[in-house]
């Protein structure tokens, strides 16, 4: 999961081209709540693994631990927060490599579940890169996830992409990414919010993950960041005279849009 600037906040970049993140207007990437819900639901769908652990993993600066806390409130058992100054400016490849290392260190995971995209960068490529790093099949952009249980441990997903509905299936372990219509994330109750305070969150560095710094060199660099000039505000007409529709058509014609 990822800690991202609140959608309603004034989002922006530092002069070095890094996303500005503060505790006050940061939040758990909204669609990652669907990922947590999918993980909890997957455990509930498989009574034989009712003792399975749900571990929330994030990578990011100190404030990112808030994202893990939210997952713990929802019912995740423990958290892992990867934080290392060497990861400043991590790109997609680095992020996936580090997350994969964390998954490996946790031991044989049955499933790695993420949100379909981070709502700050919207790249939507980390789930695929994570699958590539781990050598696992990917079931991504899922709006429906079903699990058949033993002996096959088969997960089937449906997704709507590029003008088609696709159904994919693969046996676990697999990397799954979910959309915001895949489920309704549960709202933690006060009791769970209090219980989450005592759950363990391990803070790990690259050294803890046995990742040498030269294996996490970003493959992209930011050349420049520029705030776009604010839009000037609309040419505004009212339909009081009943001519609004016609004026709209005239505008489109005059702008060469028809």
């Amino acid at each position: 999961m990822k800690h991202v600037p609140e959608l309603e906040s004034a989002r922006g970049f530092s002069p070095e081209g890094r996303t500005v993140r503060t505790t006050e207007d940061g939040t758990l990437n909204e669609v990652d709540e669907n990922a947590v819900e999918a993980a909890l639901a997957l455990r509930e769908m498989s009574p034989e693994s009712s003792d399975a652990e749900v571990v929330a993993v994030t990578l990011g600066p100190a404030t990112a631990v808030d994202a893990v806390r939210r997952a713990l409130q929802m019912g995740a058992d423990r958290g892992v927060h990867i934080s290392d100054d060497a990861l400043t400016g991590a790109d997609y490849a680095t992020t996936a490599r580090v997350l994969a290392a964390a998954v490996r260190q946790l031991g044989a995971a049955d499933a790695v579940i993420t949100g379909m995209a981070a709502l700050d960068g919207l790249g939507a490529v980390v789930p695929s890169l994570l699958a590539a790093e781990l050598g696992l099949p990917q079931l991504t952009v899922a709006h429906e996830v079903t699990y058949t249980g033993p002996p096959d441990h088969m997960v089937t997903i449906t997704r709507d992409v590029a003008g088609a509905t696709e159904t994919w299936r693969a046996p676990l372990p697999a990397v799954i990414s979910v959309t915001d219509v895949a489920n309704s994330p549960r709202l933690p109750k006060m009791k769970e919010i209090l219980a989450a305070r005592t759950k363990e969150v391990a803070t790990l560095t690259l050294a803890d993950l046995d990742l040498p710094a030269d294996e996490v060199v970003p493959r992209t660099e930011v050349l420049s960041v520029n705030q776009r000039p604010p839009r000037e505000g609309p040419e505004l007409v009212t339909d009081d005279d009943g001519n609004g529709g016609r004026k709209l058509a005239e505008y489109l014609i005059s702008e060469g849009l028809i």
Binding site: E8, R11, G12, F13, D91, Y92, A93, L119, L122, G123, A124, V125, S128, A132, E133, G135, P137, Q138, T140, H143, R159, D160, V161, G163, T165, E166, T167, W168, A170, P171, A174, D180, V181, V217, P218, R219, T220, E221, V222, L223, S224, V225, N226, Q227, R228, R231, P234, V237, T238, D239, D240, G242, G244, G245, K247, L248, A249, Y251, L252, L257
Partner: protein
Amino acid sequence: MTSPVIVYLDGDPLRSGVLEVLTLARGLGDVIALSPAPVGEQTVQTLGHYGVSRVLHVTADDADLTAPAAVGQGVADAAEELRATAVLLTSSFPTKEIAAHVAHRLAAGLLVDVGDLHWHEERLAGTKRAFGGTWDTSCAVTTARGVATVRPHAVAAEPAREPITAEVGAITVGASTPTGLELVDRQAHESSTDERPALAEAAVVVAGGRGTFGDFDPVHELADALGAAVGTTRDCVDEGWLPHDAQVGQTGVTVAPRLYIGAGISGAPHHIGGMSAARTIVAVNIDAEAPLVEMADFAVVGDLATVLTDAAEAIREHRGL
């Protein structure tokens, strides 16, 4: 610069986004098109008009090139063999997944959803809109090869000044499908086969929001007059007024059309994040202070039912229909 640049073809006939990618690719080097399916004669001719020197059908001995991982590995191996310096794709969920696997296999830098491409000190570089279109970020790969996906409508597709005849060939690559992964079913949506363009690729989008109160007839009428795709907001999908694949937003379809018209849409950040790359934005709303009105180029304050219907009529008249 004559280094080979690969453009990935995700279908035949060519999607409009592919022609835009080819337009950018010509400025980077010698363009080779790769397709996981055989390409028809008509398409080969079009590719020649867009400056493609070679069209290669990619096949793999050990994999069905359906899964993103397998296609990505195959395209990467072809890039390696052809000594390509860049691999370019359109931006859609499936092509971004393929791009991720290409970049992984090549250990190359990956640029996603860029609006332009150029060489920066012999490295692939591009510009991306960020944070609901309020920022531009320019990035370059730090690796010898670069992989990039280009967002639709960022540039206008233009044929090359001098058409060439593309050479047709085949290339066999190494690729493997992850064990047990299977595409069980694939159903193309009706909207992509009937007269309306697919939402993600449409040059014009007319979207209706909560202000329609569920009556999308005026939205459809204007969309038909403009040859536009119809979109909506998450609220309306939750209400069951339109299907999920009509949802424009950060977790729905991201659109970047030449013209976006939002009617009865106040402009929640989710929705704005999915449409702010539109070149011209028009809002129709009874509330003059709605966020979408404030970011629009042109806005009509009024009842959307009459405004859209009147606009559709005026447009039909203009077109002599």
